[in-house]
């Protein structure tokens, strides 16, 4: 039986930086170098077994210095979570919470923000735990019950919405091991949830009511029984097609190419042997050679990049502009585009590229080089300094193009005051250009 291969190459700052971008939100200054010194195994272990989940650094504020109101004000919920991503000492926990938000994509289009935040806390509790426990918790989660009409589903009026997505998107994959008949029968098993609603409180008192549940015999995946919602989850999480679905999907959040066959099989066995716990899989995936292959880059999701930029420059959430900035870049938290989550294969086009430029503007506008700072007049020095601003290496091609720009900008200075001023203006612009370079937009 094949095992999951482990990366045997050099684990230096570049590899540590890759790990921190994929399993978290990028390094703080010096963090990649420090992590590299610990070696691959200890580095991965520190992510999968975080010592502290406390947030470190100043609390988030809006532009007027007031505390955020995540339940009440537009995009404050987004900024509240983004702040956790910036300040966390357990980046993989936060990153996995984001993975589960995408996996069980629920939107506040249908659920009040307070319930979305409650779901967020639940996802975080299960971040590195058992998928079966997570799927059970999601299936009774009030925001999910509203979003996929779980509380509209009762024995008199069967609503298929959750049953279909539970199999198609959450546990098995489209058309893998179930039929339309299974969708309808599973929907019957999931009947029984209800909630009350009032003008003042909105939806509340979510509960399972036996009177609303269809207690008859159902036939799901070829098995017959008086199945209820717990059975419905287990029938799918213990389905023979589930481990391959989970392994492939989970892998895809960290590595852009599908797992080799032997690796996938080994991970599936590991998943079953560990009683459907996710942490051992993460331990293995984060040490896999493909994660460190320079030729397998991934576009950073917008919120990951936003959090990473803030971490790189040592800034916290001090404006709610991050709400519309990330929205324009294609990722407003708590409002995924649909129940299948965000499309990780298409983050960048002309519109979302411009949004990344604006994200960089938000950082750079408060970090401009002071007028009285003397700046080098050499193109290559300016490019190096701009890359250091973001703590990022640059490819040769990008560096050459940026040096071409810098040389042209410096050459356009004629008067003495221009020769004095243009290097600073050029370095400010270079920071923007580094931030939107393919080198920095991917990791």
């Amino acid at each position: 039986m094949s095992r999951v291969p482990r990366y045997r190459g050099h684990f230096g700052p570049d590899e540590a930086r890759r790990l921190l971008w994929r399993a978290g939100f990028g390094p703080k200054p010096g963090q990649a170098e420090k992590l590299a010194k610990r070696g691959l195994d200890a580095a991965v272990h520190s992510l999968t077994h975080p010592r502290s989940q406390r947030l470190k650094g100043p609390k988030p504020r809006d532009e007027d210095g007031r505390p955020l109101a995540p339940r009440d004000a537009w995009s404050h919920d987004h900024c509240w979570w983004l702040d956790r991503m910036v300040r966390t000492q357990a980046p993989l926990v936060e990153r996995m919470t984001l993975v589960w938000h995408d996996w069980f994509a629920t939107s506040k289009d249908s659920a009040p923000t307070a319930l979305m935040l409650r779901q967020n806390a639940m996802l975080r509790r299960h971040a590195l735990g058992s998928f079966e426990q997570l799927a059970l918790a999601v299936s009774r989660d009030p925001a999910m019950l509203l979003w996929l009409n779980g509380t509209d589903n009762n024995k008199w009026d069967v609503n298929e919405n959750y049953a279909r997505e539970l199999m198609e998107l959450f546990t098995l994959g489209a058309g893998r091991g179930y039929t339309e008949r299974d969708v309808r029968e599973l929907a019957r098993a999931l009947t029984g949830w209800r909630n009350d609603w009032s003008e003042g409180r909105g939806p509340h008192d979510f509960r399972f009511d036996r009177e609303f549940h269809d207690r008859g015999v159902k036939r799901v995946h070829g098995r017959r029984g008086r199945f209820d919602w717990r059975d419905a989850v287990r029938l799918n999480v213990r389905h023979r097609k589930h481990p391959s679905f989970l392994v492939n999907k989970l892998w895809g959040y960290f590595i852009p190419t599908p797992p080799p066959r032997g690796t996938a099989r080994a991970l599936e066995r590991m998943y079953i042997a560990h009683d459907r716990k996710v942490r051992p899989l993460l331990d293995a995936i984060l040490r896999h050679p493909h994660l460190y292959d320079p030729g397998r880059r991934m576009v950073k999701p917008p919120v990951v990049q936003a959090a990473g930029m803030l971490r790189a420059v040592g800034r916290g959430i001090d404006t709610t502009a991050w709400g519309w900035l990330c929205d324009q870049a294609g990722q407003l938290l708590f409002i995924p585009p649909n129940v299948s989550g965000w499309d990780d294969s298409r983050w960048l086009d002309t519109a979302t590229f411009r949004a990344r430029w604006q994200m960089a503007t938000e950082i750079c506008s408060t970090a401009q080089i002071d007028d009285d700072v003397k700046v080098s007049g050499k193109a290559d020095v300016l490019v190096t300094r701009a890359a250091r601003f973001w703590h990022t290496p640059l490819s040769r091609t990008t560096r050459q193009a940026l040096e071409r720009y810098a040389a042209g900008a410096l050459r356009s200075a004629n008067a003495d005051w221009e020769r004095e001023t243009y290097p600073r203006l050029t370095e400010n612009a270079l920071r923007m250009l580094v931030a939107v370079s393919p080198d920095y937009l991917t990791s």
Binding site: D152, N159, N161, A174, T350, T352, A409, Y422, V436, P438
Partner: protein, 429 residues
């Protein structure tokens, strides 16, 4: 209107001016000449204006049995005790069993003018009831689950050029999957009036040169083997050209164009504004061949269908009506067709306050050049399929083949593969 008419400039120099004035002044010709993509849009614009297809998606599976309600079918009220529309509304002239939803009245008006071709039950064989699988089929234009290019993307690969990203444009925050091309560039534009770039702490030549520089970096890496790097690089390279072409449409993020029809107001949805922007872009002669938009709201009405659908349909139909009038006022209606589609229809039998996923759904082709004659008939509610869903009486692949051949003059075999052999209805006159 930012049309070049009356400015004394040709279209080409007009665009180049917006893109390149700063470059000319600061002698940036020493950099790398004018960026190719900026010139590409201008060059494409100077040619003969082509036909345009606007592709509007009703996301979630719109309930055809509410939009054109079979009030004359005796089974309708039994299947839809809560949701059935009352009779007595505006009857669909081509099939008196069907009644327009009151919110679809603007479409009924256009239909009365012969400008709407209705497909009352469009779909495909062995319909899939997954949103994502069925939508994928419609976006890629075949029943191939693994295809990564969209049908309009492949069309553009045939008729487009390598340096005009605006030939396929999504009016929205991200690129529509149907536009995914294998070879040629395409673009997404959230708001044409707001596509500027500014580098904080930089002005004069260093600031101005920084804008073409990001596209320059993108061009240098656009051919990268790594797909993620190539995606980032192409986005940067194309954004440079789009920025230049859109510069005349806004100032400080505010539109400098005037719509030529009254669009509905919406504080929540950008759909009417996007259509107004698209009409202005087309009116200015930007070299657009395919455009995609998502209609407002979620059409996946598992619950509370009556109110949700009415709200969505009201804004969608009145916006499409305004768009058509806008095109007519600009004198360009004869070269634009609008296709409206959804990934499937909904279950004939309601589930209480909503409906679950179904099979055949509704489609429209809108424009002065469409035949205005129904394609396929309403199959009636006596012949539902084994799952209780409407059977398709027309196939979206035949519709695509017809548009590919008759609207764009392209052999559908090269764009739609086997789907090109599906019977083709006549929708273009």
């Amino acid at each position: 209107m930012p049309t070049p008419a009356g400015t004394g400039l040709s279209r080409r120099s007009f665009l180049l001016q917006s893109a390149g004035l700063a470059l000319a002044v600061y002698g940036a010709g020493r950099l790398s000449g004018l960026p190719a993509f900026e010139e590409g849009i201008a060059r494409a614009q100077s040619g003969r204006a082509g036909t345009v297809l606007v592709n509007v998606f009703l996301d979630g599976g719109a309930d055809s049995m509410s939009i054109l309600a079979p009030t004359g079918d005796p089974r309708y009220r039994k299947l839809r005790p809560n949701l059935a529309l009352p009779g007595g509304g505006r009857v669909f002239a081509e099939d008196h069993r069907l009644t327009w939803h009151p919110a679809a009245a603007p479409l009924a008006t256009l239909h009365g003018e012969g400008k709407v071709t209705v497909l009352p039950a469009v779909g495909y064989d062995h319909p899939d009831q997954s949103h994502f699988v069925s939508r994928h089929f419609w976006e890629v234009g075949t029943l191939d689950p693994g295809l990564r290019t969209g049908w309009l993307g492949r069309l553009l690969d045939r008729i487009g050029t390598a340096d005009n990203p605006l030939q396929g444009v999504s009016m929205g925050g991200s690129l529509g999957p149907s536009l995914a091309a294998a070879r040629v560039p395409v673009a997404a534009v959230d708001a044409p009036e707001d596509f500027g770039f500014w580098a904080p702490g930089s002005w004069g030549p260093p600031g101005d040169l920084a804008i073409p520089a990001f596209a320059d970096v993108g061009r240098a890496l656009a051919g990268a083997r790594d797909p993620a790097v190539a995606q980032a690089a192409r986005a940067a390279a194309f954004a440079g050209g789009v920025r230049a072409a859109l510069a005349p449409f806004g100032k400080d993020g505010e539109p400098t164009y005037t719509p030529r029809a009254a669009y509905p107001a919406s504080s929540k949805e950008r759909f009417p504004k996007r259509l107004a922007g698209l009409a202005a872009m087309l009116g200015a002669g930007l070299p657009i061949r395919c455009a995609t938009l998502s209609a407002p709201g979620a059409w996946d009405t598992h619950a509370d269908q009556a109110s949700t659908l009415t709200e969505n349909l009201t804004l969608t139909a009145s916006s499409l009506y305004a768009f058509q009038r806008d095109l007519e006022a600009r004198g360009i209606a004869d070269r634009v067709l609008t296709l409206v589609w959804s990934e499937f229809g909904r279950r004939a039998e309601e589930n209480g306050s909503g409906t679950d996923h179904g099979a055949a759904g509704i489609g429209f082709v809108i424009g002065t050049r469409t035949t205005g004659r129904m394609v396929g008939e309403f199959p009636g509610l006596a012949t539902l399929d084994d799952h209780g869903n409407l059977r398709a009486t027309s196939d979206f692949r035949g519709l695509y083949a017809s548009l590919t051949a008759d609207w764009f003059g392209v052999d559908p075999a090269g764009v739609l593969g086997g789907g090109a052999s599906v019977a083709r209805p006549k929708v273009v006159r």
